[in-house]
């Protein structure tokens, strides 16, 4: 490959483009100088430079396993990322783990592609992160110290460099750009669910996990003792225990404080998120409606309608915990509320609703609701009343709905044909399902439609139970 001067890397820069200002904005390279250095060196250097994409070294987070350094190195020098990765892995093995902190160092010092600030520059201002990095590193150091006491040298040689890695990673974790952090989150998510006993994992699962961990630890310790020849191992351990206790005593409160600070920080973030959520909802609903009201202030009817719709939505959110736009399933009470919403929106007449009890919907109750809707729409259309009252009560053996207005009323004996038809559709619908409809009205007295539907089989889930007196 190196014999072919025209070979070029994934950056697709042909040699003919060299020196034509085709390099990226961060390009700092000097033009090759002739004369002082032998020609072949210049040629060689040029060739070397042209192998990559001609850009300065950048991490490539979109082609990443960890920090995107392997991909960045590959693109910079024209190797395939996989080759670089294998080389890095081998280096980590040969160097007994020391390659890892250097990788982390690179992650900290090399900016990501399309971003000119390094993580280190950001981390400089993150004093809490620096403290945390120190704390975690010292924690690991203490742990390794103890492990060393158990003579597990193989583990220790590979692990000591990681004291530095962990400090670096902490800083990266806290200060990486937003998209990188999201990617890391996805990477660590399964791990998080293992350690965090959050709301997602049940108490039982946590207990099981602890039990499992205890068993494994016991077995592991037993194994180690058996391997190393038993109890004499504990003799040097005694001294180390004192040292460790001293360190914990010295640094313990500090660690604790850091843990607490982290907790506080997390709570603050949760609060901020909640506030943002409320703000978003208020904006979506209340502010929008207020804006609409301002624009339609000339039309009082529309303003009242908007205000009522908004009020209802806000109430159902605040007091019933239902998100705006959420219909809330198919219960009888919800059906009544839908009638209220529909009639108010369509006819602009306020509907006062009182429901007592609730139960799941069935086919008969749906018919009852349909009849009630008819009655309410009639009242809104014809009565001229300022407000319509709907009262619905779920009893153990039947469901009642009363639709009442104080409008002009009518003489039931002398109704026009079109309205008679509607009344029949209410009565007919009710009787088909074994229910009953009574329409009471007189001119000037308003109208009252009473609908009664027997309940098929009162399930145990039904909320309305017999009154206590009847039960005993």
């Amino acid at each position: 490959m190196s014999d072919d001067p025209h070979w070029h890397g994934p950056g697709n820069h042909g040699p003919s483009h060299h020196g034509l200002g085709h390099h990226g904005p961060g390009w700092q390279g000097q033009p090759p100088r002739h004369g002082e250095v032998p020609d072949w060196v210049v040629h060689r250097a040029r060739q070397w430079r042209q192998r990559g994409d001609g850009e300065p070294l950048r991490r490539h987070p979109d082609d990443r396993l960890f920090g995107g350094i392997a991909a960045g190195l590959g693109a910079w020098r024209g190797f395939s990322p996989t080759t670089v990765r294998i080389a890095l892995a081998v280096a980590a093995l040969i160097s007994e783990g020391w390659a890892v902190p250097f990788y982390v160092l690179g992650w900290l010092l090399i900016p990501a592609k399309g971003d000119e600030t390094t993580i280190v520059q950001r981390a400089r201002h993150d004093s809490r992160g620096l403290v945390l990095a120190l704390a975690l590193a010292s924690l690991l150091a203490v742990f390794l110290f103890l492990a060393g006491a158990l003579n597990d040298a193989g583990l220790a040689t590979f692990a000591w460099p990681q004291v530095f890695s962990i400090a670096g990673l902490t800083l990266i974790w806290r200060n990486a750009p937003e998209d990188e952090r999201a990617a890391m989150h996805r990477l660590v998510k399964p791990l998080e669910s293992l350690t965090a006993s959050g709301a997602a994992t049940s108490r039982r699962a946590t207990r099981l996990r602890f039990a499992g961990a205890a068993v494994l630890l016991a077995v592991g310790l037993g194994w180690l003792f058996a391997l190393h020849g038993g109890i004499y191992l504990l003799e040097p351990l005694g001294g180390f225990l004192f040292v460790a206790a001293g360190i914990v005593l010295l640094l313990g409160p500090w660690w604790l404080r850091i843990a607490r600070d982290l907790l506080v920080e997390r709570q603050a973030r949760a609060r901020a998120e909640e506030r943002a959520d409320i703000a978003a909802r208020v904006h979506d609903s209340v502010l929008q409606t207020l804006a609409l009201i301002q624009r339609r202030s000339a039309d009082p009817q529309a303003v009242v309608q908007l205000a009522r719709a908004q009020e209802r939505e806000l109430r159902s959110w605040l007091f019933e915990g239902r998100a705006p736009g959420d219909s809330g399933g198919s219960s009888f009470a919800e059906g009544i509320r839908q009638i209220q919403r529909g009639v108010e929106a369509l006819h602009g007449v306020p509907v006062e609703v009182v429901t007592v009890g609730d139960c799941p919907l069935d086919e008969h109750l749906s018919a009852l609701l349909a009849a009630a809707r008819e009655a309410t729409v009639n009242a809104a259309k014809w009565s001229g009343a300022a407000v319509i009252s709907v009262f619905a009560e779920v009893e153990p053996d039947k469901v009642n709905i009363t639709v009442r207005d104080r409008g002009k009323g009518f003489d039931p004996a002398a109704v026009p044909d079109d309205r008679k038809g509607v009344a029949e559709s209410i009565r007919g619908r009710m009787s088909r399902h074994g229910g009953e409809a009574i329409v009471q009205s007189a001119p000037g007295e308003g109208t009252k439609v009473t609908l009664t539907m027997p309940r098929a089989a009162a399930g145990p889930a039904a909320q309305a139970a017999p009154a206590e007196g009847q039960r005993r």
Binding site: R315, F319, E320, G321, A333, E352, V354, T355, V356, G357, D358, V387, S389, F391, E393, E395, T402, R404, Q463, A464, A465, P466, A467, E468, G469, R471
Partner: protein
């Protein structure tokens, strides 16, 4: 609740009223709207100042917001009732949460009206409460029917202190149903062929049951409602 001499010897004229609400705008609105129909003798916006003010002015009626910073409306009622059992409370709220409403009523409020009530109706309600009657809005009637209808869960049956208090009579239920449908007391009386005074006494006895009933499921009911 008990026979307080002051409840019947209220001097003629506008009832003396204290407004307790944490929204200054709402207080001044109510004060302006009620005008000369009542005599507003003081305003408070918090629990502690309200208790102090009521103890000092001894009004006929306290118009009380259910939601107050520093303890809520029922805290005011409980505290004032200890020293001045004859002061009457009318709860006034934008809240729809049954538990809040039932809490103030059980603490001793003589009624509950929503803030969307018309001025004339509010003035009438204040007068009623001042006269010792109970004021049920249609919403409160619905809550009460609901609370007394839902029986205890099977595993939760406890011997009641007084079974008489733990249920509504058929007549009381009828009255409440009509109120829940938006009937006025007068219309209820006409509908049931009884006198207005009888309606009043039914409503008062419902209120008494609501306040004295030992049914612990009253509270449970209210909390459950919030979850539905």
């Amino acid at each position: 609740m008990s026979d307080q001499p002051t409840s019947t010897t209220r001097p003629a004229g506008a009832p003396r009223v204290v407004l307790v609400d944490d929204h200054g705008l709402f207080r001044s609105g109510v004060r302006a709207e009620l005008g000369t129909r009542v005599q507003v003798v003081g305003e408070a916006e918090d629990v502690a100042p309200a208790i102090e003010l009521i103890g000092r002015t001894l009004p006929d009626v306290v118009l009380l917001d259910v939601h107050l910073p520093g303890g809520g409306g029922h805290a005011v009622i409980t505290e004032v009732k200890r020293d001045h059992p004859d002061v009457k409370f009318l709860a006034l709220s934008a809240s729809d949460a049954p538990e809040d409403v039932i809490a103030v009523i059980r603490a001793g409020a003589r009624g509950y009206v929503t803030k969307t009530i018309s001025t004339a109706e509010l003035a009438d309600a204040i007068k009623r409460v001042a006269d010792g009657d109970a004021v049920f809005s249609h919403r409160l009637a619905g809550f009460v029917l609901d609370a007394f209808a839902s029986g205890p869960a099977p595993d939760d049956v406890k011997p009641s202190f007084d079974p008489e208090l733990d249920q509504l009579t058929t007549r009381e239920r009828e009255v409440l149903r009509l109120i829940a449908q938006g009937y006025t007391y007068k219309e209820v009386a006409r509908e049931l062929f009884i006198s207005g005074k009888t309606v009043e006494s039914h409503v008062s006895s419902v209120l008494r049951k609501l306040q004295l009933s030992s049914r612990h499921q009253l509270t449970r009911w209210a909390t459950e409602r919030r979850l539905t």
